[in-house]
C-alpha cells in the first residue's frame, strides 16, 4: 500500500479562519520555535484596460498531488523542518482572497525562511495547476507564471 498523500486542494478561496485554525493546531507541538507562512493572494491586475476579477484554477489533479508529495519529500530532505503544510485553491478565487497557503515550522527560525522560499518556488514551477484570469466583463486570459 502506498503512503496516503495529503490533501492539498481546497475548493475556492482559503479563508483566514482556516489559516488561524492551522496555526492553533500547532500550539501543542512545543518543539517548534519558529513558523513561517506564505500566503498567495489574487491580484487585481489591469490588462489592456480590463481589471481581473478573479482566477479560476484547474489542475491535472493526480499529477499535481504526486508533485506536491514530491515537493514535500524534497523539502524534508533538504531542510530540518518539524512540519510543513501546503494548500492550494481549485475553482474560483476572487481578487483579494487567498489562493496559496504554505506553512513551515522548525525549532529555529533560519531554516524556515529558506524552506518557505524553496517550497513556494517549486509549487509555482513544478505543479500542473492552470489559472484563468477572469475579467469584469467575463472575458478571460490564461495566466503564465513568471
Amino acid at each position: 500500500m502506498t503512503k496516503k498523500k495529503k490533501t492539498v486542494f481546497i475548493q475556492g478561496a482559503i479563508s483566514p479562519s482556516f489559516i488561524a485554525n492551522s496555526i492553533e493546531k500547532h500550539q501543542s507541538k512545543t518543539a517548534i520555535g519558529a513558523h513561517n507562512i506564505f500566503l498567495g493572494q489574487v491580484r487585481a491586475d489591469i490588462i489592456d484596460g480590463k481589471t481581473v476579477q478573479g482566477i479560476t484554477y484547474s489542475a491535472y489533479t493526480e499529477m499535481a498531488e504526486s508533485t506536491f508529495h514530491e515537493i514535500r519529500e524534497a523539502t524534508f530532505d533538504k531542510f530540518e523542518l518539524t512540519c510543513m503544510h501546503i494548500y492550494h485553491s481549485i475553482g474560483t478565487v476572487k481578487t483579494g482572497e487567498i489562493c496559496l497557503f504554505v506553512f513551515v515550522s522548525a525549532p529555529h527560525r533560519k531554516v524556515t525562511f529558506e524552506a518557505l522560499e524553496f517550497v513556494v518556488e517549486q509549487v509555482k514551477k513544478e505543479v500542473p495547476v492552470f489559472g484563468k484570469e477572469v475579467f469584469e466583463d467575463q472575458t478571460h486570459q490564461w495566466k503564465v507564471n513568471s
Binding site: 484547474s58 489542475a59 496559496l100 509549487v123 505543479v127 500542473p128 492552470f130 495566466k143 503564465v144
Partner: protein
C-alpha cells in the same frame, strides 16, 4: 492503436474537450503524436505546451503504448 489524451487549461479550450481517444500508428512516439495533434488542432502550433506520459513530463521521444496516459500541459500558473 488508440491513445487516451488529456487536455488542460488553454489547451482544452483549443481542443474543445478535456480528453479523447486518438487513433495512432503502432509504436507511435511523442514527436509523431505531437505533429498529429498540431495537424488536427492548428492553433496548437501557436501555443507552448509540454507532454506528460503517465504523469511525467517527457523531453525525449519515447514510444507510446495504449496503456499510457498522455496529457498536454500548457504553462503552469499555480500560486
Amino acid at each position: 492503436m488508440e491513445l487516451k489524451v488529456l487536455y488542460f487549461g488553454m489547451i482544452a479550450e483549443i481542443t474543445n474537450r478535456n480528453e479523447e481517444l486518438l487513433l495512432v500508428i503502432q509504436d507511435c512516439d511523442i514527436f509523431q503524436l505531437e505533429s498529429l495533434l498540431k495537424e488536427k488542432y492548428e492553433s496548437l502550433k501557436n501555443v507552448s505546451f509540454k507532454i506528460a506520459v503517465d504523469q511525467k513530463i517527457s523531453n525525449t521521444s519515447i514510444r507510446l503504448k495504449p496503456t499510457n496516459e498522455i496529457a498536454l500541459l500548457p504553462p503552469f500558473s499555480g500560486g
